[in-house]
Amino acid sequence: MTADIQAAVADAFRAEWGKVVATLIGMTGDWDLAEECAQEAFAQALKAWPRDGIPRRPGAWLTTVARNRALDRLRRGASEAAKLQQAAILTPHENTAGSDVDGEDIPDERLRLIFTCCHPALSLEARVALTLRTLAGLTTAEIARAFLTAEQTMAKRLVRAKQKIRNAGIPYRVPPAHLLPERTAGVLAVLYLLFNEGYTATTGTQLLRLDLCAEAIRLARALAGLMPDEPEAAALLALMLFHHSRRASRVNEAGNLVTLEEQDRSLWDRAEIAEGVSVLESAARRGLRGPYLVQAAIAQCHATAAAAADTDWALIADLYGSLAALVPSPVIDLNRAVAVGMADGPTAGLELVDRLAASGKLAGYYLLPATRADLLRRLGRHAQSAASYREALDLAVNDAERRYLERRLADAAQQR
């Protein structure tokens, strides 16, 4: 087989897997059948495309093959239930029977699939796993590896989630208008969690898991396309793009974390930043400032500053203020304190950090003492700074973060 064809099938897999599965679930109501038939359709493409050439519309070709597979299986099943499903598959397509497969127009039903995968009656782990399996087409083994779980555990999680969808009557649909805002927020949260899981492994030695980030971006891009009237979907995509653009500079060759300030900005992905800027611009034009829009605007301030010293910290501090008004959180207050510390000087920042520490809301969160340590260092209060770095070290879990704090602690100790 030529490399071209192989690449074409791989491209079609990334672009079309979710669409084929979504359509097949819509037709059959059977998630396992849909996945198996989609898989068979891609296997068939590997055999047929080298012989017959790449079809003009690969998605339509794959969906038709998968649908025929489903029909074959249901005919063989021949139970009453199978006959009913069979009739349901045939009905909407009877008038197109015999027409050119390539020309058939198949609506994109992925939105129904993503809302069902992210239904709040499923556990968060199940939502993430289902989204990766059915929409992104990752194998169970790949998902298990990404989440450092045994393959068997992940397989069980997926089986249980599909059982619950069927047994509890979770509808396969885009929620009606009165449920849409909260359900959309739920979908965005799953995609952002996926991205963050890839961006910073919460434990362990590997800081970056790029595949999960790429999958999350791909899913966010699809969602933004499917929900053109939802600025938060586009804003989430922009936010991910800004973060992702820095991936080459976040960790150095020794595997150590490099702060935003010290990162080599020539390594930032200009194309991704440009896409983020234009996506965010069109999202902002559609009105209402939601939490992702504000976060993306903050990320944009960093991504578009030519040098660390050019960062517009006053604007960032303002944006954190708006964000805290939308979604009150002590972590956001801490970030605002950092921005204020940069815009108005370390004394102003330290005042806010100390107020937060006194509230006790961030007890046990390593970035609180780490932030305090940094502000104290800038004020020349090195002994106190070292003490705060030590406190942060006791609380950090990620190896790269620990190594960063250890280096900072060593610097502070030398200054004394």
Partner: protein, 113 residues
């Protein structure tokens, strides 16, 4: 689809006088509304767990014990059987039940062979 709503309340938490006064009327309003739109099939309030009796049969012997089968703080205070188009509708129906505001409601689909 049929769902059983288990109305759970923490029996150690005594609702305020205002709540206690309000719940019966609010529950009745909920039942009337759900009866009227055809969602509610049946339901009732239950006596508290101190009136419960647990029955087991082991080795052919009937074992009777005073009290509930599980010693938990949350106890089933009542139940309702509802008929809904899907889980989203069942969630909306459950969310409107007055006990959902201070207790919790477990929504369980009926077994389907």
């Amino acid at each position: 689809m049929k769902y059983m709503m288990l109305i759970c309340a923490d029996e150690s938490v005594v609702p305020s006088a205002a709540e206690q006064a309000e719940v019966p009327a609010a529950t009745e309003a909920w039942v009337n509304e759900m009866d009227a739109n055809g969602v509610h099939l049946m339901g009732n309030q239950l006596q508290p767990v101190q009136d419960a009796t647990t029955v087991r049969v082991r080795d052919g012997e009937v074992l009777v014990a005073d009290g509930p089968f599980a010693e938990t703080k949350e106890q089933i205070a009542g139940f309702d059987v509802i008929d809904c188009s899907d889980l989203d509708q069942a969630i909306e129906v459950a969310a409107r039940h007055p006990v959902a505001r201070y207790g919790s409601i477990e929504v369980r689909p009926f077994w389907q062979p």
